[in-house]
């Protein structure tokens, strides 16, 4: 099988290159899966953690904040996966002390920036999850509003008679979204963590 350098992998993640993403999955997933299953997780937990770790790395890359000095892509990925799983264990009130550390992680990766980013990713991921549960109309409408598309244009695209209706509909959609987020027990846990 072809192997890619760390630089190629990072570039691949930045442009969502399917081949590279597949490569990452085939190359590293099973180790993460093994680690999580050994530490009271399930198959679903493993795939969620792996996916979110890639998203965290992507966020880091977008912020131009990812330089491997002592670590490698593999080390970084495993360290992020481990951190994410530790956070999950914390939320589930599971003892972390007896962790079966099968993943080769690097302690120096865990700086404040990463912790902050992981928390942001967790919160934003939850918002995005609920956003995806809205009707496609609501999703489209909110997205256009937030992308600052003129109200008149929004009303035209959505086929609404008046701009006022578009605005009212937007509030309804947003109200529903906020309600769903607030009702989510995960959100309550995030808030508990923040305080």
């Amino acid at each position: 099988m072809i192997s890619y350098t760390d630089a190629q992998i990072l570039k691949g993640i930045l442009r969502h290159d399917n081949l590279i993403l597949q490569y990452i999955y085939k190359q590293y997933y099973y180790k993460v899966n093994y680690f999580i299953k050994k530490n009271q997780g399930s198959e679903d937990d493993a795939s969620d953690i792996f996916q979110e770790a890639i998203i965290v790395i992507y966020r880091k890359l977008k912020e131009n904040d990812l330089i491997f000095e002592k670590s490698s892509f593999q080390g970084y990925l495993f360290s992020v996966c481990r951190l994410l799983w530790l956070k999950q264990l914390e939320k589930r009130r599971i003892e972390k002390e007896r962790l079966n550390d099968s993943l080769p992680y690097q302690e120096d990766v865990y700086d404040d920036n990463l912790i902050e980013l992981v928390e942001k990713n967790e919160k934003y991921g939850l918002y995005q999850k609920h956003f995806k549960t809205l009707s496609s109309d609501c999703q489209k409408l909110l997205q256009m509003f937030f992308e600052k598309v003129p109200l008149k244009e929004i009303a035209r695209i959505m086929g609404y008679k008046t701009e006022k209706y578009a605005k009212t509909r937007k509030f309804k959609c947003k109200e529903l979204l906020i309600k769903r987020i607030k009702q989510d027990t995960e959100f309550k846990k995030i808030l508990e963590d923040d305080t």
């Binding site: 099988m1 969502h16 993403l21 085939k26 996916q51 977008k62 995005q128 997205q143 947003k174």
Partner: protein, 501 residues
Amino acid sequence: MTPKTELFGRIEDYCLNLLDAKEKQEFENELAHNEELQQEVKLHKDIQDAVLELDVLALKGSLEKIQKENPVNYSENGTFALLEDLNEIQELKEELTFEELIDSFDSLPKVHAYQHGKTVNENIHRFYEEQNGADAGEFENELDGIELEDFEGLEEAILETDILNLRDTLKQVAKSVEPQFSVEEIDSYLNGELGDDILAEFEAELEKNQDLQFEVNLHAELEDAICEDDIMNLRNEMKNIIQSETSWNVSERTIEDFIDGMLEEDLLAEFNAELKENTDLMAELALREQINNAIGETDIQNLRAMLGRARKESERKEVKSIVMPQFDLKSTRFWRNSVAMIIILIGLLGALQMNMNTAQQTYTKYFETPSWAAERSVSDVNVNDNLQEARLMFAQSNYENTIQILDKVPENKDSFVKHFYTALSYQNLNKFDKAIDEYTKVIDHGNNLFIEEAEWYKSLCYLKLNQKQDAKNELMAVIERKGYYEKDAKAIIRKLKYSPE
């Protein structure tokens, strides 16, 4: 203290102007200071005025009399009987003009009745119907047979004032913790659309109100999160990969080589290292080994083949006797024989089922002629007249003409289009050897978008020719590409493993 009866007498005298000047002066002095007296006097005056409305009273009496003499039959829809006179007019025209109504006899009451009829279904009308005494009476009648004592605990419930108060208090508390600013207002604030006066109020509140700060933050974060299109796409992409891809880092061929004990030392060490932790790979390996074991059951396969032959022979043999032998239903031997026959028949059906899964059946299942897509070639081949004509013929399933026309297309760097559709045409004409030659040219070209399809269709040709090893090789190439046909190719390979050689 003045007795009540005496007080009422004085008030009445005052209201009827029967007091002398002195008494009146005294009374008015007291009235100026005594609020209770003022209220009493007002009440007396009101009663007096009401009683004095003799005309109204007379009219009310007359109406009651009329009502008693002519009981009104309320129609089902609640309209007045007067409306029935309008039938004639309504027959002439569905919608009446105002003039038509005015010109008709008794027009004004009819206008009222007409409007009444039109608004009969309106909520307000229903509301007044509910106020109707007759209905209320009916309800009271319904309640007549019910003793309040029957509602166990009703009285106690009503008397639970502490609970009622607590409920009210809770409502008030709930109201007080509701967000003071609506989604609309918070949004307007974030978009800088709040008016100056409200903005000042909002900001003042925001400064000291933590809940409001939380709400505003949530709104702002939401906006950012929803705009993260790229993150949402990446997440989807990762989800798809996790769902559709195998999670092991070795090729199918390596797994097969491992099973066959053909892996070289380095590769073997690598494979074993992954196998130790990769549970998916363990499962795949176990499956493949089980399949191999199943295939290795030659005795079972021989038995199956024998049963197949027996079935064929039995089909060929003529029925020699048309007279059915006599069966003794009570004989245990008869039942034993019957059960044995049924078991053999089930076995034969199983063998028949296995035979259905032959390479031929697989071919029919998977072969599907694709539509013409010459636009996948690098240069603009659409301008080529011959290709245009060939496309037309191909679309009409006229494969012989397609081959003839494509034959005229000169060889160039884009000839893979010509060879691919020539191959497909041959395949449709069941000329598989020729099709394989043409597909090979497409694959050998090495740099075009038809290669994966050429490999796929070539493998199907081998399948049809029953050249299973060649078919398997091509299918392995398709799997390695991890493209559109990967899953189908894997499925065929598994089928080939099960089917007899």
